[in-house]
Symmetry: C2
Subunit: 197 residues, 2 copies
DNA sequence: AATATTTGCTAACATCCGTTAGTATATTAT
DNA sequence: ATAATATACTAACGGATGTTAGCAAATATT
């Protein structure tokens, strides 16, 4: 009877959520079974239910964990007294950082949130919409201040967010440039594309 | 006994594939059941198998249909005698066009190809890798010609492709700007970000 | 009109899924 | 050491899934 191994300051539930993120990323939420997850945790499927309520709860944990971190960062950036273009750059850097350091969770939150069940689903969608609105508002501020090209701000946000999501492919690519070079390249292209020179 | 309605010059199989694309886009490949598909086609699940071999075949059809169109366009663009930055713009415009006009198929091909079975899976991955290599080569050509900023070309390709994938969100958004405005905005940001001025 | 082919239907299959019940064992608290 | 709690196990459930077999009806061909 091998117990789930835990690090200091972490619960068994957290271990399960973390393994679930890796599995959901690899196979997709629907295609990943609780038996798969159990195997990756090193335990029988039924045993998981001593720690979690349901498969969907795992998805909640992952998605809202990520969403909360982004919302918190948005609060921080918004309240800073820096230029709009610097705010944009700061947000982009945070996104890339999150993608690099919490790859599995961010990826799953991005691609698998559809499988959340109400009321979590609506909740998540609302948060996501709010985040984009706030991001777009920063860009519009930049346009008013003549820091940023006259473009459609919501479109710019879509482009930025999805471009960053592309790190997914980079993450598993063999010929990796390092993370800081990657970030600089992205900033060059994305911020360079926005900036009014 | 209601037959599957077909337009002129289209087979029943094509109708099924098209409905499948819409369903796979909405629910994801794994979550969409053959019974769901049958209902959307207006027929019983078993009847589908008079026209197709398997659920996976539907995914093949969708993914390779899209991949072939992109490969064909790449051939055409590569052989044109225009500047590298114009080639990039032409490819981006094609991507956006495809995303707008064949939304469901392109989306599914982008997000659900993981569920292809070998040998189709490896085949698809290879094609995808080749496409990106050829795209990157164009960007590198542009860098050598001093049309494009000195950036990591594969990274630029990732950014471009994923940014365009973001039209997905635009497609279902209520407050749409029209397709041609959208395209212009994307070109401004993306090509503007690449261009060496 | 008769025949052959295509396309649909119902019924059922084997398998996999998430989850629960009941029980045994390991850890923690007394 | 004993009791209480946390965690694991085996077994099984009800339901969904992709698919097949066998048959009936619609259409196409002769």
């Amino acid at each position: 009877m091998a117990r789930i191994k835990i690090e200091k300051n972490s619960s068994r539930k957290e271990v399960i959520v973390s393994k679930a993120a890796a599995l959901f990323r690899e196979k997709g939420f629907k295609a990943a079974s609780m038996r798969d997850l159990a195997e990756s945790v090193g335990v029988e499927a039924a045993s998981l239910y001593n720690h979690i309520k349901s498969k969907t709860e795992l998805l909640h944990e992952i998605c809202f964990g990520v969403a909360n971190r982004f919302m918190h960062k948005m609060d921080e950036v918004e309240s800073g007294s820096i230029s709009a273009i610097e705010k944009v750059e700061q947000l982009i850097r945070f996104h890339i950082d999150e993608m690099v350091n919490h790859y599995e969770e961010v990826y799953v939150s991005d691609r698998e949130w559809k499988h959340l069940a109400d009321p979590y689903l609506s909740n998540f969608q609302t948060q996501r919409r709010m985040y984009r609105k706030r991001f777009a508002a920063i860009i519009e501020e930049g346009i008013r201040n003549k820091e940023i090209k006259k473009i459609d701000a919501p479109t710019a946000v879509l482009i930025l967010l999805h471009a960053i999501g592309g790190i997914e492919s980079w993450h598993r690519s063999t010929q990796k440039i390092n993370a800081s070079n990657l970030t600089d390249n992205m900033i060059t292209i994305l911020v360079g594309g926005l900036e009014l020179k």
